[in-house]
Amino acid sequence: MTHLLDDKRDATPMKISTRELNGTTIVDVTGEIDMSTSPGFRTALLESLKKTPRLAVNLTNVRYVDSSGIASLVEVLKAARISDKRLVLFGLNEPVQEVLQLTRLTKIFEIRKTEKEALEV
């Protein structure tokens, strides 16, 4: 487990990029999702969701998420359900899993271990 101070991170606390694969939009998130970065996280996911029927969020490189980040994911899930689209999360590391468990939300999200599994219909 990498400690917050051990990894070589750049000055940006969170980075988001998107790519398309087999009709799914994959959002790659890197860094820490907290009160200062969750508005950008939320906006990026909601904008991506508008343009795709299937959204997969890669959380492999997310070192930290707080309740505002979890609230953003819940909001995107609600938007996906309303528009009959699919939202899947994958690559959850220990810190992210712990927060989802503490918030008792592991069952409401579709969670997969790998990108390959996330892309399976």
């Binding site: 487990m1 400690h3 917050l4 101070l5 051990d6 606390p13 820490e32 907290d34 009160m35 200062s36 930290y64 707080d66 309740s67 505002s68 979890i70 609230a71 819940v74 909001e75 899930l77 609600k78 220990e94 810190p95 712990e98 927060v99 503490l102 918030t103 008792r104 939300l105 409401i108």
Partner: protein, 158 residues
Amino acid sequence: MSCEKQSPPELPGCQEANGPLDFQLRILSDPRLLAVVRCTVAEFAAVSGFKEDQCRSITLAVDEALSNIIRHAYNNRRDQEIEMRLHADIGCLEFTFVDRGEPLDRSKYCAQPLDAVALGGRGTHLIRQIMDEVVYERVSEGNRLRLKKYLPPARLTP
């Protein structure tokens, strides 16, 4: 540095090496500072003998407490002051936060079930789940929040 430290560091010739630890911070209510505080808290918890997963959860609780102060007490103003004290004694870690903002709205505190698919309101639930004692007081200078976490008994053995 790692959060995997199992016990306070031994300092040769320093009789107080295993005594209480005290650390104080005075920060602005700027959310960009939360990442800085998280690093400090994680290290403080590790030095105090908590395991890695406990360090993570304690850090989350402190982060949520500060976020609540910024969001609710200071209405997202970034230029207000928050005093924070970190205190470690045998088997116990205590965090005290003092702000000069709006008082806690008790009608909104843990007002909704944690598992509801609501957008917000999980921060206070997380704090209560993680910490052993949560005490909020309205004091003359503003709001004071104290969070305590006890070291599991198995880790108290010298």
